[in-house]
């Protein structure tokens, strides 16, 4: 008879005083595909090792065989809580690279869409922080208004989550009246909702005690770790791409950049909330500016770039030139200029950068996305070390990590 095999434990595992805890990759509290192998002492986190890449889809490789306009749907799938910002960021990068001047009305319409996306992104992040501290109400309540934002996207581009909104040079069509009506509804109703949402959390004793002093980071460490966006601003550095390197006419708007001091979960929450108020104000200003356009100017929704902007379908059927451009664009027969560019926008969770290298071919020679989530997640062990497991969950949500963006 064969010798009976007992279970063999790794050496030293009996003497070890800590427990190894496998947190993720599909744990409901991680809100995405994140795996952490934690060493815990009781409920305190001693150390953690992250595993990423579960939903890596090789976007950078895919982009090397696509003409510029076909890369827009790829960018949707980075930070899918605010896809329009990614789309716009990509269009703005292409426009800067191709030296396309966009009309002011296009810029303002883009600002409206980007700020709506920022609100929906921050809304999700903050309400999920609420869920992780045990308050589900806020999350469920604000979902209605994310829905309204998605309806506005739907009026503008036809889709909701992976929007593929806009084109190089502007938008695929003018905003409909329904879109503006919904935008007005949003501007009228949302401030009240946001105030109520703040009422649920900002001075809530339980929420404050759960979030204050957890997941904190100093400004110097945050900068060394490459933090940007709300997470860096919560640590006290007033860096905002919209202000530092204005794009899409952000210089025409009057807004403040909220900053925190401690860089902990509570400050991140406060910064995001304050940014939502700023976004509302920016949308109001942009909407006023858009309404100020009269006559033919009010019909402008794209720049004149026939090489990259698909012509109207009616024109394709009736006009020779439009047919030629349509064919050239769709068949990907337009060569890009040689050169390279790095362009960044203020994404929902930080500086979203596009590094495009072109060798004069039809597709990018190399395209690299600077994904803020990828950079934040590296700091995660430092943020949660010594804290409780339950605080680690809150910290993860409060960093606004999006698996799609992290893994690209």
């Amino acid at each position: 008879m064969e010798a009976q095999h007992n279970i063999t434990l790794p050496e030293g595992s009996i003497e070890k005083q800590t427990t190894t805890l496998n947190f993720g990759p599909t744990h409901p509290a991680t809100h995405g595909v994140f795996q952490n192998i934690m060493e815990v002492d009781g409920e305190r986190v001693v150390s953690t090792v992250q595993t990423v890449g579960y939903i890596h889809r090789a976007f950078e490789k895919l982009a090397e065989r696509r003409p510029l306009y076909q890369i827009t749907p790829i960018t949707d799938r980075l930070n899918y809580c605010s896809s329009p910002i990614n789309n716009m960021g990509w269009h703005l990068t292409c426009e800067k690279f191709l030296k396309v001047e966009t009309p002011k009305r296009v810029d303002y319409l883009r600002v409206i869409i980007m700020e709506l996306a920022r609100i929906s992104d921050h809304l999700i992040c903050n309400s999920i922080v609420g869920v992780d501290t045990g308050a589900y109400t806020g999350f469920l309540y604000v979902m209605q208004y994310r829905e309204l934002i998605y309806e506005i996207y739907e009026e503008v581009c036809g889709s909701r989550l992976t929007t593929n909104i806009g084109r190089i040079g502007g938008f695929e069509r003018n905003f409909t009246n329904a879109a503006f009506t919904k935008l007005e509804k949003f501007l009228n109703e949302y401030p009240k909702v946001l105030r109520e949402f703040e009422g649920l959390f900002t001075r809530n004793r339980i929420f404050m005690e759960r979030t204050q002093g957890t997941g904190g980071i100093s400004a110097a460490r945050a900068m060394n770790y490459g933090f940007t966006g709300p997470n860096l601003r919560a640590a006290g550095v007033d860096y905002d791409v919209r202000v530092q390197q204005p794009y899409s006419s952000y210089q025409d708007f009057d807004f403040t950049v909220p900053v925190g001091t401690t860089g902990d979960n509570y400050d991140r929450y406060l910064v995001r909330n304050a940014e939502m108020w700023e976004s509302i104000s920016i949308i109001r200003q942009a909407y006023e500016k858009v309404q100020a356009f009269k006559g033919t100017e009010a019909e402008v929704f794209h720049a004149d770039v026939p090489e990259y902007y698909l012509p109207k379908k009616e024109d394709v059927y009736t006009k020779m030139e439009a047919l030629i451009w349509h064919f050239k664009i769709v068949m990907g027969e337009i060569d890009l200029p040689k050169g390279q560019i790095y362009n960044a926008v203020e994404g929902g969770n930080g500086e979203l950068g596009f590094y495009l290298v072109s060798d004069g071919g039809r597709t990018p020679f190399r395209l690299h996305f600077r994904r803020p989530s990828f950079i934040y997640y590296q700091a995660y062990p430092e943020l949660i070390q010594g804290g409780m497991i339950s605080d680690a969950v809150v910290t993860m949500s409060s960093l606004n990590l999006i698996a799609g963006e992290l893994d690209a």
């Binding site: 890596h56 950078e60 490789k61 900068m223 060394n224 490459g226 960044a344 690299h368 997640y377």
Partner: protein, 168 residues
């Protein structure tokens, strides 16, 4: 005091003489190159020198130029000075046969994962990196997928029997 691309260039040239070269400005960003052996010296100088102050590493990635024999891989650093609000692009080239570049992870914590990503996709060996292993791809992978020698699958190939997806 405003820091301009010209000042950066003259300071770098004063410090490193002809070791820094190929200065050019594209869409407002100054870019330059240096031999890979001095990459840490250059980064440290840009970091420490009070008048330069490039203390933020925005991005680190690589580009593969298969036709540049002896300099097939280029590691690109995007640096940022927040106070002066100026960006800088710095690149070092290395041969694909011996892709050894010194790690910047001691200077910038953020370089740690970005270098792992670059290693994962291009096989750049960052010398001195504490934990240089694959990050997004599986550990068992034995090639570096973003190198140009790995083309995306040809959609018209006929050697695959794949009726479900319209081939073969």
């Amino acid at each position: 005091m405003a820091l301009s691309n010209e000042t950066i260039q003259s300071q770098l040239e004063a410090k490193f003489a002809d070791q820094v070269h190929t200065f050019s400005t594209e869409s407002g960003i100054l870019s330059f190159e240096s031999p890979k052996e001095i990459n840490l010296k250059v980064l440290q100088f840009l970091f420490d020198e009070p008048s330069l102050g490039f203390t933020f590493l925005t991005d680190l990635c690589a580009v593969n130029y298969p036709d540049n024999i002896g300099a097939e891989l280029v590691v690109v650093y995007h640096l940022h000075n927040f106070t002066e609000n100026i960006r800088l692009r710095y690149s070092v080239a290395t041969s694909i046969a011996a892709p050894d570049v010194f790690t910047a992870s001691k200077l910038f914590e953020s370089a740690n994962w970005m270098e792992r990503e670059t290693y994962d996709f291009f096989g750049v060996n960052f010398v001195g990196h504490a934990n240089l292993k694959r990050i997004l791809n599986v550990d068992e992978m034995d090639y570096f997928p973003l190198r140009k020698e790995f083309p995306l699958e040809d959609q018209t190939r006929i050697d695959k029997d794949d009726e479900m997806f319209g081939r073969g």
